[in-house]
Subunit: 345 residues, 2 copies
């Protein structure tokens, strides 16, 4: 039991399901993890009666102000200074005993808020949104970055994404993370100009023994489990993320309508049902808790539609990253690479 | 019966399955379509005995030389002048009675060959690879372009893709094709610089009544059936295409292993089996026959692994495009837009 673990700040108002989901998920996480301490930001009159059982493991910051999903991120962060998102990020920023912030608020607002309130690690050009994606190999996932925070990335920014993800994976205990670059072909001559330049830089880092760069990976190969990190510009990364969501839904909805339309298929579905649900819940929800790498402290974004179960799992994820010293590790890794690329570029 | 339909040139050596698949697929297409006339390019000693029954509906250009899947496209097209791909494209280029060319050869070689041998329609900056993708709505598909032929597209090139696809869909009988721009959000302020500029230009064309531009579409929405054309840079388009292939495979392989691992799931699969196979064959093979828009004559690319059944369906697809006067329609549409963008850009 890590009794000195830093506290996790939970935005209890963000997301489609609001307080009931956030508080419900927090209660389960608190019960399952005796070392977990929370700073819950939201309506105290609702939260307090439910968390009294946990004594001083739970602190409450009282507010009823939420940033809605469709508000303009920068304007909302600037003007709604008493919102749960802004108040929560300020806790994370100013308090040494807080180590991570978790929210189901709009991606834009969480990113902008993290960027403006927490700030970048020195040397980091652009923080990146880093969802975890499933693969065919049991227990193996890959991290995709950037998945949509940054448009028009330069080659150096792509290389920084690779370095940040490598530092993260190593902090999580992986020895030689296999880092790949998203491209339309495996040969180094393939792709657009940015990706070709980034490829050459990553080869340098690989040859210098800094990163285990395994080369280009095509989008249809990422789910095979042969790479641990997939580096992309936020535009392509977002296309990958959303296409995979869209195609998964397409297949499941098509299966549903096949089952509905046929009696024998209905019987088949009865036998398959629970297994299918388990598969969807376990494999397809991988992207629920997404870390934003490159900030001075850990900001974790949940799906907007996160329910209590997903809130619990996002808090468990936050517990795994909260004491990893990601800030120091990434700062050092970026500095090391800057020297090398500066000398050789 | 359209007895004056132009002939279709079939590359009988390209692809993973070679002559047996190409000839097998051609035989079925010839039987099913009395108006179909073919120029078959490949080993005459194998082809001739099988097609004699069709008399002068089939012409053979004899060659045993194939361009392999891994050859460098430009070099192969330049040096292998007696290959089935080059000989076939030359038939298409030089003969007025030939209207389309169909090949399962490597995408790079077919694209490069089409570009070098057939040439672009006047005014077209970059021809585009245009696969057809499935949607949840029965009988409805969308065309994706560019799906990988062109990297680092400009906004004007994206607009040209929209115009070409619009002309194609109208030629196919659709009155107001819904043309969308692939983007990471629906708002016009979203995306990278190229996509924002293209968005503004497409709005102009929409307001001028030239194109039914329905705005940005996110990659998870394309399969819903609410758009007929999705415009993208070849890099993002290829990411969309390959991610959807990869995710579909991921889901099907995962289902397979669920079924393998459980007795009750196996029983379920027995009942569902045929329906599932039908779904995969009908919905997931949509991208088999892919037209290359912007060339002076129609070039159709099949999947490298096309079997006889897919060859038949690709020939049927070629029959639907062969007499559409795509060249004239696209040339006129591009010229019209050039004037408008020239005046207003």
């Amino acid at each position: 039991m890590m009794l000195n673990m830093k506290k996790i700040v939970l935005d209890c108002l963000g997301g489609d399901n609001g307080l009931p989901a956030m508080v419900g998920g927090a209660l389960v996480a608190l019960k399952q993890n005796p070392e977990l301490q929370l700073v819950m930001v939201g309506d105290a009159s609702v939260i307090k009666p439910q968390v009294e059982q946990f004594g001083d493991r739970v602190e409450i910051i009282d507010t009823k102000v939420n940033i809605a999903m469709d508000e303009h991120p920068t304007t909302a962060i600037r003007t709604k200074t008493d919102s749960s998102l802004v108040l929560g990020l300020e806790q994370l920023k100013t308090r040494d005993d807080c180590g991570a912030f978790v929210s189901a608020g709009s991606t834009g607002a969480v990113l902008t808020g993290g960027f403006m309130k927490i700030g970048r690690i020195p040397g980091v050009s652009r923080p990146a949104l880093c969802p975890v994606m499933p693969t065919l190999i049991e227990g193996q996932e890959f991290m995709l970055l950037d998945a949509g925070a940054n448009m028009d990335c330069t080659a150096v920014q792509l290389v920084q994404f690779a370095v940040m993800a490598d530092a993260y994976k190593k902090a999580m205990g992986m020895e030689q993370p296999r880092v790949a670059l998203l491209n339309v072909g495996t040969e180094e001559t393939k792709g657009n100009e940015v990706v070709k330049t980034a490829h050459a830089m990553l080869i340098k880092l690989h040859n210098a023994g800094i990163i285990n760069f395994v080369g280009n990976v095509e989008p249809d190969q990422v789910f095979k489990g042969s790479v641990d990190v997939v580096v992309a510009d936020g535009f392509w990364g977002n296309v990958l993320l959303k296409t995979s969501e869209g195609m998964a839904k397409f297949v499941f909805k098509s299966l549903k309508s096949i089952i509905k339309s046929s009696f024998s298929a209905k019987i088949g579905a009865l036998f398959l049902g629970r297994k299918l649900k388990k598969f969807k819940a376990e494999k397809m929800d991988k992207t629920n808790a997404t870390i934003f790498l490159g900030l001075k402290k850990s900001v974790v974004k949940m799906h907007g539609n996160a329910d209590a179960r997903k809130v619990t799992s996002a808090l468990q994820y936050a517990m795994t990253v909260v004491d990893l010293d990601l800030h120091q590790r990434i700062e050092q890794a970026i500095a090391k690479v800057e020297t090398l690329l500066g000398e050789n570029a």
